[in-house]
Each structure stands twice: as structure tokens, then as C-alpha cells.
Subunit: 289 residues, 4 copies
């Protein structure tokens, strides 16, 4: 039987906390009530935090704004590491010119734009400009006509030998307590199996996400991996990825992993967090109120 730990006493042992977003700080009803106390406590104690999220649908600035609108004024854009940012870094480093064709909303494409590269939605690629397409990016499941644009996507990838980037590896995401939505990672996996080519994926559990955040925190302070704890709600992304990168990990039970299933899920998958906590919300009693 898994021991349930107290979240505050765990973070007391580390200098930096990495948080997953969905299922930890917020859910489909909005920001988790009381989570502001956790960030207030981190600030008071002089501990750093980063939000490490598989989300390529918006820029860090837009993500931060959504926290502010939900009442979490603390969260700064500079503290958000998203799979979309890795995609942007890839394009900056590896694609020199031409068109980046994308699946997603215009908003999701805007922040991956770089000097020298134009972005165009798949729907605007045709026989005249296909030869200028030098990369193709799966950003978001919204903003395009699935039937028309996925068929176009498959044919572009068959005709052009170019990098295909999947900016979010998740196959689905929760919409309400009972419903999920197919995510761009699931759509990309279908296209990959149809064309038989190898795509490039960014997002937890891949260690490149953790490395990006680790590089940011090391630029600010002198720190080792053992000073950091990763907090997430999903065994096979947050916990597997955090463990593999060498971080201690906390599984919280406010999202994908339910309290009644936690023992079975850990045994079945073989993915064991360092700690399990009910929630990342620190309650008033813990703070001595």
C-alpha cells in the first residue's frame, strides 16, 4: 500500500520545483482552489519553480495570461517551459529558410515564427508552394478541417523529405470529468503510421523538456539535479520522464491518476514516483494558520 505524503514537507527538502500544469495546477473547471498558497509559500521560502507542460497551442505569454485570468498572478511567462518552445528552438536551429507548414490555430503558429521562416497552414499549401515547404509541424487539434487537411498533410510528407515535428506527444486530453478529446499527438501518430516515416516528437516523457527547464534554472543559480523535484499527475509522462532525467518525483492525485487506482497503476506500469501526495495545494493548517 502506497504511503501518502504531505506536499509541504516534501518541497521543504528541495530548492526548485517543476510542476506539470493540467491535473496539478488546474483542471477543466479552472485553477485549483488554494493553489495560490503553494506559490506564496514557495516565494516566501525563496524556492524557484518552473511549469513544464506538453502544450504547443499557445505561447508562454498566453499561457501565463490564462493563469492570471484564473487568479494566479504569480506565474510569469519566463517560468513556463512548453513543448511548443522546444519546437521553436528546433526550427531556429535546424530550418534555415522556406515555409513551415502547420496543423493548428493561427495563434499556435504565431510564436514559432522565426526570422527567415514563414508559417502557412496546411490548407494553403498547394502544387505551387509545396517545394518551398522545409518543415511540417503538428501544433494543435483545432483550427483546421481534419478530413481535408490531414489528407493533404500525408501527401506533403510523402512528397517532401523534410523534418516533421510533433509539438505535443499526448494522444488525448480530458475535456470534462467524463469526456476526452483526441490530441494532436494522436493525430500525428496516425499520419506517421500511414506514411511510414519517422517524426520528431517534443514533450514529456522525453528528457529534452526537462533539460530545457534545467538549463534555464542553471542560468539563474548553482544547482544539481538532486535539488529539483518534479510534480505531476500522470505516471507515463511526468513521473517516467522526471525519473529518467534523474529527478525525484511527486505523483499528485488531482488529475489523471485516481486515489483508488494508484497502487495498481504503479505496479502494472512499473513507474514508481518518489512520493505520492493527495494534492499540490498546501492547506492553511500546514502553513500554521
Amino acid at each position: 500500500m502506497q504511503r501518502i505524503d504531505n506536499f509541504k514537507s516534501i518541497i521543504d527538502k528541495y530548492k526548485v520545483v517543476f510542476f506539470d500544469a493540467f491535473g496539478v495546477l488546474k483542471n477543466y473547471e479552472g485553477i485549483l482552489p488554494g493553489i495560490e498558497r503553494t506559490f506564496a509559500y514557495l516565494e516566501e521560502q525563496g524556492k524557484e519553480y518552473y511549469i513544464v507542460t506538453n502544450d504547443a497551442s499557445r505561447s508562454p505569454a498566453q499561457l501565463a495570461e490564462s493563469y492570471h485570468n484564473g487568479g494566479l498572478d504569480f506565474i510569469k511567462a519566463e517560468r513556463i517551459v512548453s513543448s511548443g518552445m522546444l519546437t521553436k528552438e528546433y526550427l531556429d536551429l535546424k530550418v534555415r529558410d522556406g515555409i513551415v507548414a502547420y496543423l493548428g490555430t493561427k495563434k499556435s503558429a504565431h510564436y514559432i515564427e522565426s526570422s527567415g521562416l514563414g508559417t502557412l497552414p496546411i490548407s494553403e499549401i498547394n502544387s505551387k508552394n509545396i517545394d518551398q515547404v522545409n518543415a511540417l509541424v503538428f501544433l494543435d487539434d483545432e483550427g483546421f478541417d481534419w478530413a481535408r487537411d490531414l489528407n493533404t498533410t500525408v501527401n506533403i510528407i510523402r512528397k517532401r523529405t523534410i523534418p516533421v515535428i510533433v509539438a505535443n506527444t499526448d494522444r488525448s486530453y480530458p475535456l470534462t470529468t467524463s469526456d476526452v478529446s483526441i490530441a494532436i499527438g494522436g493525430i500525428a501518430a496516425m499520419c506517421e503510421s500511414v506514411v511510414g516515416k519517422q517524426f520528431i516528437r517534443f514533450g514529456k516523457p522525453d528528457s529534452q523538456m526537462f533539460m530545457f527547464a534545467y538549463d534555464l534554472v542553471r542560468a539563474e543559480m548553482n544547482i544539481k539535479k538532486s535539488d529539483i523535484v518534479m510534480v505531476g499527475d500522470t505516471l507515463n509522462t511526468d513521473i517516467l520522464g522526471g525519473n529518467k532525467f534523474g529527478l525525484d518525483t511527486v505523483l499528485v492525485l488531482t488529475g489523471n491518476t485516481l486515489a483508488k487506482d494508484v497502487d495498481n497503476r504503479i505496479i502494472a506500469t512499473g513507474i514508481a514516483p518518489t512520493y505520492v501526495c493527495e494534492t499540490a495545494v498546501i492547506d492553511n493548517a500546514d502553513l500554521g494558520f
Copy 2:
């Protein structure tokens, strides 16, 4: 180097010929010119044939009509075995009542209807009738709104423990010489990976297709597997499936497998046909004209 055989001299050795349809009898430009001579020769020689096709978009009667419209009057509906027919047999045997929800055109749903079962497109399933859904069928990639209806499909499968049938295993199909289209088999594989449940698939290379045709031919005549030859254009469906079922096999080069690639493809996949022929069209010279 693969030996290229003469098609007429091969079929002279067998009593029954199983043909794949697309890439063998027709392609995206229509019926293969001259293929009528092959069927005339079979009839003259008193040999039987069946068309064994991964197609659940139309009934055998509609498929036969499309051959007639293309000038192949010989083809009778009773000689067509499709993955859609296996789906219908499954529903007849295993689903006693309620609603069969489907993805596809109304036409594709019509011929799988049975006494006692109603079919409804996914778009008409809602919280009022979801409890009556006792099977869900992937029939065709057309006839529905992908984004809306695939998300609904995933949530129905998560909520109901029912058989999910994929009536065509192909992941893509050729549209023109240069373009392909994502097939319902590819779409179904995406949904299967999102929900993590096991679907039931009908279609080559699965041996149930060959068995269905074999049962039909045995009802007509006294025959063994060694009297039958399977003719197809695709190594990993027609040839793999035919071989596994114990049939001799002919790969023709008028469809998915190009003459320049045939040696490499056989070595790379390890799937070897008994014979390789340029085409299933018998030319006039072979017939002594």
C-alpha cells in the same frame, strides 16, 4: 533476380482463382484495359473465380454494378467477398439487439443492417440513446465530420463495453498516381490507441476473408486449397494472407508493387509470392489470336 511468369500458364494449373480488386482488375483510371479477356478465358476453361477485397464502403451488388459500368459484365455479386460481408456476418451472429453506431456513408451502413438491429451514424448518438449502442463499426472514411464524429466515437467506446469492428484494415488507399487518402483502417487505429481497447478487424491479410471465400467455393464444388491461386498487387495483404491460408500466390505489378522494387520488397519483407507476373491481363498472343 525474381523470375517473371506468364499469367495464363499459371492459371492453367488451378481450378479456382481468387482476385484482389484494386491494383489487379482496376485502378484509379478504371477497369484495366483487356482484363475482360482474362475473365472470358476463365469462363471458357470452366474455372471459377472470386474477388476478395478489403472494401466495406459498398455492398457486393453495388461493387458488381461498378464493374458492369466499367465494361466488365461478367462479374456477379455472388462472386465478390468483401470485408464488409464479414462485418455483416459478425453482427448477425454476435449482436442480438440495439443500435449499431457507424462511421461511413449511409450507403455503406445500409447493407450491414440485420433484423433486430438498427444502424445510426455516430453523429446521431447522444446521451439519450448511447445505452442502446451494442456495437460500433468503422466502415468508410467518407460520410462524416472527422473532428466532431471521431471525438464522439472515442467517448462512446470509453463508456460502453461493446465490440468495435473495423471493416477494412487498410491504412491508406491510392487516389491518383501521386496521392493517397487516409483509409478508415488508419482512422480506427488512431482511435484504438487513444482508448486502449482491442478492436476486431476484418480484411486481408487476416485468414477469415480467405476462409469465407473458400467456404463459398466449397459449397459449389469439391475442392482443396491446392486447387486455388490468389492474385494480388500487395505483399503484406494479398500475398501474406494467401500464403498463410495455404494458397499459392501471384504478385502482379499493376498496382502497389512496382516492377523496379519487386526484388527489394520481397527480400526486405520476407513475403515471397509463388509467382510474379507483369499483369493479370491475358494478351491476345497468349490466347492464340
Copy 3:
């Protein structure tokens, strides 16, 4: 909550019963106590049975003998359908001459021998006879040196374009209540991923097993699929395969599927048996004693 049915009242509704062997009729401690009453009842009622088993390690005669030694004198070799028999049928139909190289015991190789074909263990294949190897069969996990012979196997398959047959798809089998053993199906999957070629697999859930048994029973009596019920302990072989073939299915809880897990397993996999029973053993009370 899954309803638990009475086994005797189920078989009263059918003319023919297909049984899985391990987990249904026997386990690692031997024949299930009382299972002889089930066979006595079937005989008394004039119902037919077949044993449909993923086992290529012994011939039907040897399998029958093991039942006799365990006290089940009823079981006749002619009533046993094994994945090894499908392998033999494949070799008879598709491999005309040369050597069949195999992994397994000499006993397992003996009964697949055919006129015109010699069998040789992988350890006896060398540069002098490799060109005569026309098929390679994975029969059993015993009888060879894994490190030496699996490396030889991989290199034979890379050099020869020949059919590779996996005579048992199971990845592991239970050894005691707490331990499993890696099965030849797991070993074959490793070799397949190393060489990247497509192997031919025989065994449940593939429908060719059920078809083989169905052909045998139809040779004896006039019967339809709806007259047959498949009894097994494993959802993703016995039940999935039986359902797909169009048979009604009974899951028994004396083997791989535990009573405490049955609801969760059915929901998680989406594989639903027609009935669930504690056991295939009919007790004396049911027989009116």
C-alpha cells in the same frame, strides 16, 4: 458487475463445445479435479467437443496421452486442434522440398515432418546446408541453446527469403502460481524485430485455429457457428478469437483471469465474453447427485 453463469446450463444450449486446455482443463498442478464429470456429461448428452490449444511442443497423440496419464481417458487425439497442426498443414501445402530448420525439441519437430521435407535443428544449419533451408519454424522454448541458436536463427533469416513460422503466439506461459516462463512466441517476436521481416503466426486469437476445428466438426455433422460455444480462461486469445470467429464464448476463472479482476479486465480491454463461469467443472449437485 458481471453476472456469473452456471456452466452446465450454458452447454445445454449448444451442440459443440470448444475448450482451451491450459487454465480450463488443467493447470500446473495437473488435470482439474472433477473435469471428467464435464466430459462424461457431454458424452451422455451426445454433444461434441474439441480442444483448441496454442501448443506446438507435442503432437495431438502425445497431448492426448498426457490427458490419459492425468486420468482423463475420454480425450481422443482426433479431438485436439493445436497451433502445431496448422504449422504442419502450412508446410504440407506451401514448402515443397529442402530443409525445415526449427527451434524446439526433437519431439516437437517429429510430427511436423512431411514427405519430401527434412527437419533439422538450427544448431545443425551451417554454410554447407543453409541454401537448402526453405522454411524456419519456432516450435518450443526448450531443446536448444538460446544464445547460440537465436543468433544463428537471426542470421539465417537475414540471408534466406523463406517463410518463418511461429507455431505458438503466446509470449509467456505460467510455470507455477507465482512464476512464468518466456514462450517461443516472445522469442520469435524478438527475432522478428531484429530482422525486420514479417513472420507467419499460428494460434489463437487468429481465426485460422477456429476454422480448422470448425472444418473438422463440419466433416462429422451438419452444424452452424451458432451451435458452438468456445470456453477459455484468457480474454485476448480464447475470447477475442472466439468472438471474432462468430462463436459465443465462456470465460472461466480457473486460469489467467482472476475472479477479483474480471470486471476491470473486461472494461479495460473491451473484450467481453458471452458468459462468465467460475469453472468448466460441472459439480455433482448440477448433475442431480
Copy 4:
């Protein structure tokens, strides 16, 4: 048609070169003749290099010694980054006490030992000490009895919820021009599919290898990803991994990828190197001799 570039003119553009070992610096016949000129040129030009290799069978010191024995005196142990080193870092960070059970030679286990952790070969794990096993590592395909120890391994992993580390992701490695050997990565994948748990893998194409080398080089000098070029012979490890990490990449044709196949392989996989060169050996003419 792929352009073939001159290796010397490529490395002139970068400050640091990452080399794969097998297929680039050496093959089964030993060190590539003339490769010492490449290292002499790098030293003369003040450029840094690292060897980034999927090898967990020996320590960096032992790997360096093997280069010295082959006549490459330049290579220092500090310049070698192996998948075994990532395994050691993982154990140092994440496993606090108990036994690390391993598959491999004693030599391969020696250098992953840490204070507080004992290593034991799988063959010495039994019912008395299994409860102290806190990690299990796949190191090398040699040094153990496959049949006996792989079955033990599978049962340890089923009974203990512990991290399982695969220290080399390769599924096979070349033994001679015509033969391959099954690698520990292939063996581990078989065990993973049998137990159904998720293992932790270290080795290219995973970015953690490149990150480890990148951290080492940044500790020495002020450098960006665009100053580094990765040189390898394998598209789906060296080139895919290098590209994804944001490095420019060179495919050399002295190992896994043959000159006659290079165009087809790049198109089929969609993995495109920045450059293609015959070899990493700089010839005398290029050096002006």
C-alpha cells in the same frame, strides 16, 4: 540525388565534433586506417571532439584503452560518453540502497557500482535476496545463460516494482560483413513485452546522451548547439538523435548505411542528415600532402 560532401571542409565550420564509434572510427576489422589523421587535424586546429556511443559493456577507461591498442593514442577516456555512463548517473541519483541486479559481464557491472549499492548478476538473485533488489540493469548480451537468466529476469521484474534500465537501446550489432548479433536492447524489448511494464532506456537517438556530452563540453568552453556537428553511420540513432537535439549532422558511409542505399534510406525514413560524406577519414591530399 544526395550531394556527397568533403569531410574536412565540413569540420572547418564547427568548433566541436561528436563522433559515433562503431561504423565511423572503427569496424569489426579494427580502427579505420587513416582515422588518426582526422584526430591530428582536429588537435592542430584546436577543435574539441567527443565520442558518443551506445555501449554499456565497458567503462570509458576500457573503451579508451581499446583505441590505444588499435593505434589511436589521442583518444582520452574523458572524451567518451557512453550509454553506460548515463546508467551510472541514473543509479547514483535515483537508487539509494540495496542490490542492482544485472545482465552482462562482471566487467560491465564493475564501473556502474556506486557507494551504497552492490551489484549482483541475475544468476545470484534468489528468494533470499530478491527483496533487496532495487534496480535491474540490462548491460551486455554476454556473460550469462540466456535461457536460465532471462526467465529469472522476467520473474524478478514481475515481483518487484523497481526501475529497469536498458543501458543500450540497439537491437543488434554487426559481427562480420555478413552476420549480426542480437544486442541487449533487443533482449530487453522481449522482456518488456512479456512483463508489460515500462523500462528506462539510455542511448541514441534519445537526447539525454547528447545532453550529457553537451554539458561536458560547456563545462570546458563557451559554446552553442550550432557550433557542434554530430558524425554517425546510422540514420535512426546518430542522425535522428543529433537532428532532434538541434545539431547539424554528417552521415558517413563506412558503416550501417551503404553508398548504394543512401538516397532510398533517407527518403524512406524521412531522416535527413545535414551532410553526407564517404568517410570521416581525412586523406592526405586534403591536408595538402
